[in-house]
């Protein structure tokens, strides 16, 4: 078809641009729709029920939004602890949340915390185990050594704050491990350099950070202070999940998140191997497995596995994933 040069091409070009935008939008929406079924299948699948429950998703999302609100508050020169999400621009909040959700280590950390709080609540329902003050923590608070007793008191306070903030689906920035805190603050600093925002609140935030004062830092110090007695913390019903997970992580040198997630239902092989690698005797392991998963069974082959082999198996498993 003969066509005049000029306007029509212009129109066509404009149409092209519009179409391109629409096409991209459509592709994105198609992808989103396409993801629904696999994600749903994953969420509904019996294997992952405990690992990715609605409650966990809600808590992870809540924690990420809370971190975003704190960073925004700091960027606006306010005290991050006040958060005040109503003062923040909702679009900025979403943008930050999206950025933070792309940070896989951060997501993994939040997931482990959410799982920890939910398992702790489950243990409370099932065993009437106090989610904040476990028998072991009680003993430590009564320690003759004032330094240990003091540390245990700080831990008690931190654990109580943790359970409370988990119910509110919040996570104070200072509770992040140093690497994650650093990554988050570095992102915010990048924005300060780019825009006209004030960086002094961020500097204050950074100067006030002390990993040793965070809940996980306190628990780790307490476990270290128990020295050989830390073996006593390798009993869920005695130590409570928080101390148990830190002690198990310290004994086997695995990440704490792994120790927490091993207490989920459907992870009893991992829990059994971790306890074995931590030097726990077989009858005690069986008891711990029953606590973590009443319907679970101890893997039969465990009796023949030495602590070293258990550690090697776990390391192989970690490398394979």
């Amino acid at each position: 078809m003969p066509r005049k040069m000029g306007e029509e091409t212009m129109d066509l070009a404009a149409d092209d641009a519009v179409e391109a935008i629409l096409r991209d939008e459509l592709a994105r929406e198609t992808r989103a729709l396409g993801a629904v079924v696999p994600v749903l299948r994953h969420l509904l699948g019996s294997e992952a029920k405990a690992l990715v429950s609605d409650a966990i998703l809600a808590r992870v999302r809540g924690m990420i939004l809370d971190l975003s609100a704190q960073l925004l508050a700091a960027l606006a020169g306010r005290d991050p602890a006040t958060r005040a999400p109503h003062l923040a621009d909702p679009a900025a909040l979403d943008r930050w949340a999206e950025t933070l959700m792309a940070d896989e280590p951060l997501l993994g950390f939040c997931h482990a915390l959410a799982a920890e709080s939910l398992i702790t609540e489950r243990l409370q329902q099932r065993l009437t185990l106090d989610p904040v003050l476990s028998p072991l923590l009680q003993e430590l608070i009564a320690s003759d050594d004032p330094a240990i007793a003091g540390l245990a008191m700080h831990t008690l306070a931190a654990q109580s704050r943790f359970m409370q903030s988990q119910r509110r689906m919040e996570l104070p920035l200072g509770e992040l491990p140093a690497e994650l805190f650093h990554a988050a603050v570095a992102r915010a600093q990048g924005m300060v350099r780019g825009g006209a925002q004030d960086g002094t609140a961020l500097m204050r935030l950074q100067a006030g950070y002390d990993e040793a004062a965070s809940r996980l830092g306190l628990i780790a110090r307490l476990v270290a202070a128990m020295r050989r007695g830390a073996l006593a913390a390798l009993a869920l019903d005695h130590a409570g999940l928080a101390l148990f997970a830190s002690a198990l992580a310290a004994a086997t040198r695995c990440p704490r998140a792994v120790a927490v997630l091993a207490c989920n239902e459907g992870q009893s092989a991992r829990l059994a191997l971790l306890l074995r690698a931590g030097g726990v005797a077989l009858p005690a392991i069986e008891r711990q497995l029953m606590l973590a998963e009443p319907a679970g069974r101890m893997p039969r082959a465990l009796a023949g596995i030495s602590a070293e082999r258990a550690a090697a198996l776990l390391a192989d498993g970690a490398a394979a994933t």
């Binding site: 330094a147 040793a212 110090r221």
Partner: protein, 476 residues
């Protein structure tokens, strides 16, 4: 901001690094670990996990709190490290606080596991490996090191000869083939190489008593330095006996575990922990235990002897407060002194006599001297330890007992190797007080250590008539 209180009882050690991660100052345990990890003070932090933490804390500008562990050569050290990065005005380094400092000897692996591990290490580090038949005749040989290329060529040309004809075994005069166990671990030299090579013969086949063949490994004791290759003229300065520490590195680790087991079991029998037993048998067990302890102490002494006699043995140079060192040595020996009702009196204020020496060596000498004084002086007497300045640029610490003293003839020989003088008749209850029948090496080692620190160790008559040992060292 919550600063850390030094009074906190959990703090086990404290140190300070600068902007280049050099450890500037450190408490004794941290300083010792730094030394055992091969670092200097001041010098770059040599404890790998702590170095990584300090670097991370500096990079991120954040206060970290992490568990760390290190191996100090004998034991695993663990602790909880808190790293506080300092501002540029304060040097740009970090404050390092270690809580719950803990040193736990590694549980010795079983003899078989240990041997397997040694074999694996040797296989991994061998620069020459070969396969021999049952009569130790060469089948194939491959060399990775350039200075062993000549050996490879020779092995290829003379395949089928007994392997030892291709090398020069040092210290083995018997003619080959010897039983393989006698050669395993020997040192040899090979044509074209200036280095000393350790021989490993690992039997192959199902029956170790009747091997089907051997794996031959040659492990160089020194790394290959470029100008050491094929330069036959430049050999003159090489030490005649290469510093292979047979006792310290080979014998002690293997013997310590079985010895400890002998002592522990004998103690169990002696204390009748496993059931009633006739008096005589309990006494025999007590003799076995003390003989075992004697052997263990002897082994330590021999390992020390080897170290002080190694050419080029040097000690660290750090300020050592002699009164402090004396108090620590007395603390370590407190129980032994109590058992003999001996009073340990320390005279001299802290800070009054500060030497330039190596702390743990000074401590070692003092433990030897005070231990001798407790053992050889009569029970219920006083041992006096005095730290004071001693003339121009020198400081001294003296250990005086109220025993029978030492005659001039004895004084002339007392520092000789393996000299025991038969002292100790005053210590009438040798059996009871444990293993004071020493190896005869303690004073020799102590004097060698003193000399290595530019000091001296002498004996004289104490004012009260007993023996007085004087350790003099350069003052700070």
């Amino acid at each position: 901001m919550n600063s850390v209180h030094r009074t906190d009882r959990l703090i086990g050690a404290h140190g300070l690094t600068d902007a280049r991660d050099r450890l500037l100052s450190a408490d004794a345990p941290l300083a010792e670990l730094q030394d055992r990890c091969g670092g200097d003070l001041p010098g770059t932090l040599a404890i790998p996990e702590l170095l990584a933490l300090v670097q991370q804390a500096r990079r991120m500008g954040l206060r970290l709190a992490r568990a760390f562990s290190a191996f100090d050569g004998d034991a695993e050290v663990t602790g909880f490290a808190r790293i506080h990065p300092l501002g540029l005005d304060d040097g740009g380094g970090c404050e390092v606080l270690v809580e719950n400092w803990q040193r736990s000897p590694l549980s010795p692996p079983s003899a078989r596991e240990f041997a397997d591990k040694l074999d694996a290490i040797d296989r991994a580090t061998a620069e020459v490996s070969a396969r021999l038949d049952a009569r130790q005749q060469m089948q194939v040989l491959s060399a990775r090191a350039p200075d062993a290329a000549a050996l490879q060529t020779a092995a290829l040309a003379r395949s089928g000869t007994v392997w030892s004809e291709l090398v020069e075994l040092i210290g083995i005069t018997h003619r080959q083939p010897l039983h393989w166990r006698l050669i395993d671990g020997a040192i040899c030299q090979i044509a074209g190489s200036q280095r000393h090579w350790r021989v490993r013969l690992i039997p192959l086949g199902p029956d170790p008593h009747n091997p089907a063949g051997f794996e031959l490994l040659l492990i160089a004791d020194e790394p290959l330095v470029a100008d050491l290759v094929a330069d036959p003229g430049a050999q003159a300065d090489a030490p005649e006996t290469s510093p292979t520490r047979l006792v310290g590195t080979a014998l002690t680790p293997v013997l310590r575990a079985p010895l400890a087991r002998i002592i522990a079991n004998a103690e169990t029998i002696r204390a009748r922990l496993a059931g009633p037993l006739r008096e005589e048998y309990s006494e025999y067990a007590s003799i076995i235990a003390s003989a075992g302890q004697h052997l263990a102490a002897m082994l330590d002494d021999l390992a020390d002897l080897e170290v002080v006699e190694t050419p080029g043995f040097a000690t660290a140079r750090e300020p050592v407060d002699l009164a402090d060192a004396a108090a620590r040595a007395a603390g370590i020996l407190g129980v032994r002194a109590q058992n003999r009702d001996t009073a340990l009196v320390i005279e001299g204020a802290r800070g009054a006599a500060v030497a330039i020496a190596e702390f743990r060596r000074v401590l070692q000498i003092l433990i030897n001297l005070i231990g001798n004084a407790i053992a050889y002086a009569p029970a219920s007497t006083t041992v006096t330890i005095t730290a004071a300045a001693a003339g121009e640029g020198r400081v001294a610490v003296c250990v005086a007992d109220e025993g029978p003293g030492i005659s001039p003839e004895q004084a002339a020989r007392i520092f000789d190797k393996f000299e025991r003088l038969g002292r100790g008749s005053a210590g009438d209850d040798d059996e009871e007080s444990g293993n004071h029948k020493g190896s005869g090496l303690g004073l020799y080692i102590s004097r060698s250590l003193a000399k290595a620190m530019d000091g001296s160790l002498t004996v004289e008559r104490a004012p009260g008539g007993g023996a007085l040992f004087r350790l003099e060292l350069p003052a700070r």
